[in-house]
């Protein structure tokens, strides 16, 4: 049951230590940051656990912030709104643009006409 991988006995910890995210993958993401040379085991562990907490926090805040129409489903728009309205989540604004249907956008343009640049 406990498979010992050389140099990576942290893996069995992810099953028995109450973490449900793969630490090797977390490590990959961490290492993809520029200038990161090495990461110690505790740092990896804390980051993985923190990531779990982050997911919970983001999901629950967004869910509670729900659109109201169907407040039993967490929607993309709930996430986008929560991110926009929460300072801690500002680092996510670039990857969470608000979505709009093309037809709605075109309608908006019609209603608020602006001078067009050259086509």
């Amino acid at each position: 049951m406990h498979v010992k991988m050389s140099g990576d006995n942290v893996n069995h910890a992810s099953n028995s230590k109450g973490i449900s995210l793969p630490m090797t993958r977390v490590k990959m993401i961490m290492k993809s940051s520029p200038d990161v040379s090495s990461i110690n085991q505790e740092a990896l562990l804390i980051t993985t656990k923190a990531t779990e907490l982050f997911v919970q926090y983001l999901a629950l805040s967004s869910f509670n912030n729900g659109s109201g129409k169907d407040n039993k489903t967490l929607l993309y728009s709930d996430l986008a709104n929560t991110v926009e309205g929460t300072e801690t989540f500002q680092f996510l604004t670039d990857i969470l643009p608000k979505k709009i249907f093309a037809r709605d956008y075109l309608k908006l343009i019609e209603e608020h006409p602006i001078e067009e640049a050259d086509n």
Binding site: L21, S32, D35, V55, L92
Partner: protein
């Protein structure tokens, strides 16, 4: 968000970008079920000006499970919301890591340690995680110490620690020396068949 690689769609429609004051939009397809369950952005996200290393994501099943457990039981989660959080997670990890890495470099160290991560969290507005994480780390350390004696990892690692003179003091029978006269790390049996703690799975080295 479907990996269409578009920038703000004002430019695609030939509209000036000034219209979108404050927020920017991305076109959503009519049929936005988010059918694809694979979330490989191998071509790299074109939706940001800068090159992003975050093409690596955590498995969506794990992310979705955590989300599901976080919201009330009757709640559901839209597929594109799951994918979105999956991306946010990578962003979060990178965000924390680069801050921690910076501090590490400032202090002329090469290895990011737990303190660096905790410091980064506190700096970046996640200080509410610091205490729970410290507690968690403490429990983990204690658990790891306990496991070393049970053989959860190869005992040859722990050999130096576990085999103190005390372990052998009263329990070592006279006949431990093997037939060829060499004393080796063989299984030690006491006369009462009590296994000596910490010495259960000694391997020949």
């Amino acid at each position: 968000m479907e990996g269409d690689g578009s920038t703000t769609d004002a430019s695609q429609l030939g509209m000036p970008g000034e219209y979108m004051t404050g927020s920017h939009y991305v076109l959503q397809s009519q049929d936005d079920d988010g059918d694809e369950s694979l979330h490989d952005h191998e071509e790299g996200n074109g939706s940001k000006e800068n090159f992003r290393e975050q093409d690596i994501y955590l498995p969506i099943a794990n992310v979705a499970r955590i989300m599901k457990n976080a919201v009330p039981q009757t709640g559901k989660i839209a597929k594109d919301a799951k994918e979105c959080v999956q991306e946010c997670v990578s962003e979060f990890i990178s965000f924390i890591t680069s801050e921690a890495s910076e501090r590490c470099h400032q202090e002329k160290r090469k290895t990011i340690n737990g303190e660096d991560i905790l410091f980064a969290m506190s700096t970046l507005g996640f200080d509410m995680y610091v205490e729970p994480l410290k507690l968690y780390l403490q429990k983990f350390r204690e658990a790891m110490k306990g496991e070393k004696g049970i053989g959860g990892i190869s005992v040859t690692e722990g050999l130096g620690e576990e085999l103190t003179d005390d372990s052998f003091a009263n329990q070592l029978p006279a006949g431990i020396i093997t037939a060829d006269g060499q004393q080796q790390n063989v299984m030690v049996y006491t006369t009462s068949y009590q296994q000596i703690p910490g010495v259960q799975q000694i391997q020949f080295s």
